[in-house]
């Protein structure tokens, strides 16, 4: 085992670092208003164009589909250097880049790929995820949104929820029930739904973080061409699992690196938060708490490297998905560590834990992102398979214990 870069990885890192330094320097700040979707989209697109011009768009996608064909290790290096340089993350392109693109590469038709992949790579299309429903959260296979075939179209009626980026999305990856008579998992299909189709009503849902990234989406006899089916009709559950396999890979790497930066920031804040006649940092209990949570995050960085090494296999096949054991162990442990970081944050800030913005004036503390992070921990322990679902996955698929039903 080794942690240092190989010669070629080292060259790649230097190349990425040099490019990022220039590309980030004149990008300008991200839009201040998180609910200004037009501005967010424009900002993220500007960055995506730069990525594409430099050959970093679709970094882990195969070359045949316009990607760079980077190894999992190179992908990790790219994410690490991007975090260090303060480069934007995927932003509004999260679903298009991490879900839709890889799913179309794996399961789409040549026509679907030829149409969508270039738009995704160029940052011209934004996708949203239409999987969860009010009655189908953790029990996703219980989804009820119906798609009825009518000639060469599907007519879709139902409702979706937690539809991130729905306000700016051009397309939706939509799970629908196409055979209500079949067993739950065998009557589902995966469809590409253009968001400008008549009959789509999107309503904002404000999250506990204060943003309106979420939406509810009501579908009233929305017509979608049958050729928008990805995979076979009624084979959508399997396609959805393919989609998830990408999400549970390196989707949280940037998040983790940002959390490690939060832990460093928290240590700096602790030295400024007044406590008695000294500072919070002078309390050994506080130092140990900060050190413990930093150790947890460091350990997750090690697990990330292990997962990436596993995905890389023996290095001959360009890499595969992160195995379930490592992916779910990471997701579960990362959620726990983030909640722990949140608890330590509250203890450090103590009576100054009062604002989701930075404090200025009498008490000058850059605490905004720290308290936001404390709330964001719930996104990690609930989204993309709750911690309870991750525990079921580990217990049943890895430890071999009996299935729930």
């Amino acid at each position: 085992m080794r942690l240092r870069d190989s010669e070629s990885d080292s060259r790649f890192r230097k190349e990425v670092r040099a490019w990022l330094a220039g590309a980030v320097s004149d990008l300008g700040p991200a839009p201040a208003d998180v609910d200004d979707w037009a501005a967010r989209r424009a900002y993220d697109r500007r960055w995506q164009s730069r990525l594409q011009d430099a050959g970093f768009a679709g970094i882990d996608w195969p070359r045949a589909y316009g990607g760079r064909g980077a190894t999992p290790t190179e992908h990790l290096i790219f994410l690490e250097e991007s975090a260090a340089a303060g480069a934007p993350d995927l932003g509004v392109f999260f679903v298009s880049q991490l879900h839709a693109g890889p799913t179309l590469i794996a399961e789409g038709t040549e026509r679907q790929r030829a149409f969508h992949l270039p738009k995704i790579l160029a940052g011209e299309s934004v996708w949203c995820q239409g999987f969860s429903e009010p009655g189908a959260g953790s029990d996703l296979a219980g989804l009820r949104t119906r798609a009825v075939r009518d000639g060469d179209e599907y007519v879709i009626t139902g409702s979706k929820i937690w539809t991130s980026f729905a306000f700016v999305a051009d397309y939706c990856e939509l799970l629908v029930r196409t055979d209500p008579a079949a067993p739950r998992h065998r009557g589902i299909s995966w469809l590409i739904m253009p968001m400008d189709a008549p009959g789509i009503d999107v309503r904002p849902l404000r999250t506990i973080e204060g943003e309106s990234e979420f939406a509810e989406m009501y579908l009233d006899e929305v017509r979608v061409p049958a050729e928008n089916l990805v995979g076979a009709e009624n084979d959508g559950w399997r396609v959805a699992m393919v989609t998830f396999s990408f999400e549970r890979g390196t989707a949280f790497v940037r998040e983790l690196l940002d959390a490690m930066s939060l832990a460093r920031g928290l240590a700096a804040i602790a030295r400024r938060v007044p406590r008695g006649t000294a500072t919070a940092w002078d309390d050994p209990g506080i130092r140990r708490d900060i050190g413990t949570v930093a150790a947890e995050l460091d350990a997750l960085w090690a697990l990330t490297k292990r997962n990436v090494s596993r995905a890389e296999g023996d290095g001959t096949d360009g890499g595969g998905p992160v195995p379930v054991a490592g992916g779910s162990a990471f997701k579960l442990s990362y959620a726990e560590a983030l909640h722990h970081l949140g608890e330590v944050t509250m203890r450090v800030l103590d009576r100054y834990a009062i604002s989701l913005d930075d404090l200025a004036g009498a008490v000058d503390l850059p605490l905004g992102r720290h308290l936001q992070g404390q709330l964001h921990a719930f996104a990690i322990s609930i989204a993309a398979g709750t911690s309870q679902i991750q525990r079921n996955i580990l217990a049943e698929r890895v430890l071999g214990l009996p299935k729930e039903r």
Binding site: S6, W301, L303, V308, S309, N392
Partner: protein, 332 residues
């Protein structure tokens, strides 16, 4: 970067596991509580595999393996609850060849601050005591240590002694070697703990998969499954951290003075100690009433974990070390 075991490393672990199954089965080792009961022949068999000299050069009888390989082997030794001064053997073999070959046993102890008692493990068993302090490493004869045995040791398979003071002894290593021993001692101890964290969940899963209540195996209940899944995740995180720490100290800048290595080693210490203790508790809980009995094995893992977590750098000290690396470069 590559942080996954290769086929050679898996084979190395398998051969150590097989040797342990033959020579250190738990039903026997749990009675090796003193000099008379401790099986020195089994110990020598373990030594002859090269267990204690893996990282030494071929000239010195070693296998020229990396610290991470030693860590992988020590994860197996932890998992199999092998008794005896394992970490001390790997350190002391730097100075005393007969410790590496298993002919002599050694214990390593940090010299406490003036007036504080020293805790010596395996004192009645060993042929040499090596004392670490700021000035270096000091050799002391066991007979010269004024110590009394702890009559009811927390870990029944690790006898311990309390000494009111340690003789100065003969200086056999410099301060730099002492610092490297502390670092390797931390990594190998963390490896033992990570091994416990992994194994004890395997033991509990096997029990949960066959123990029936309410007409079904208890491993089918979410309340039990989730305990075990948490344990599995903790163990995965811990062994990744331990392997990464071991790799870090072998790479350039990985000496005891390097910040990255200090942080990785201390962080692994924190995570591995917690995983071993938490997972052992999980295993006792999953075993229910059986887990509360002396005859069942889970309590042995917990007690070993409790003992090992406080050898070399304690989790509290390690957490503090990690915290200090976060603000390195800023004024104290």
């Amino acid at each position: 970067m590559r942080l996954e075991l290769d086929d050679d490393q898996r084979a190395l672990q398998a051969s150590v596991r097989a040797l342990c199954a033959e020579h250190f089965p738990l039903e026997r080792t749990r009675t090796w509580t003193d000099r008379d009961s401790f099986d020195r022949r089994a110990w020598r068999t373990l030594a002859e595999l090269g267990t204690f000299v893996m990282t030494r050069s071929a000239d010195e009888g070693g296998a020229e393996l990396a610290t991470v390989d030693a860590g992988l082997v020590y994860q197996v030794l932890g998992a199999e609850l092998v008794p005896g001064p394992l970490v001390a053997a790997a350190l002391a073999s730097d100075l005393i060849d007969e410790v590496g070959t298993g002919q002599l046993l050694a214990t390593v102890v940090e010299r406490p601050a003036d007036g504080q008692p020293a805790v010596l493990r395996h004192l009645g068993l060993v042929d040499v005591v090596l004392v670490l302090d700021a000035a270096g490493i000091w050799r002391v004869e066991p007979a010269d240590v004024d110590a009394r045995p702890v009559t009811s040791p927390l870990d029944p398979t690790t006898p311990v002694w309390l000494a009111t003071r340690l003789p100065q002894g003969e200086r056999v290593g410099d301060a730099a070697l002492a610092a490297r021993w502390r670092q390797r001692g931390d990594v190998l101890t963390s490896a033992l703990l990570a091994g416990i964290a992994v194994k004890v969940i395997e033991v509990a899963v096997a029990y949960a998969a066959q123990r029936e209540q309410f007409g079904r195996v208890i491993g089918g209940f979410q309340a039990v499954k989730h305990l075990l899944a948490d344990g599995f995740a903790r163990a995965e995180v811990a062994r990744a951290a331990v392997d990464a720490a071991a790799v870090t100290i072998d790479e350039p800048g990985g000496g005891p003075d390097g910040t990255a290595a200090a942080r990785a080693v201390a962080g692994a210490r924190v995570v591995a100690a917690r995983a071993a203790v938490a997972n052992s508790k999980t295993a006792i809980q999953v075993h229910g009433g059986m887990g509360f009995t002396w005859e069942a094995t889970p309590h042995l893992y917990l007690k070993r974990a409790w003992l090992e977590e406080n050898v070399f750098t304690t989790p509290d000290e390690a957490a503090e070390l990690v915290a200090r690396t976060l603000t390195a470069g800023e004024a104290a």
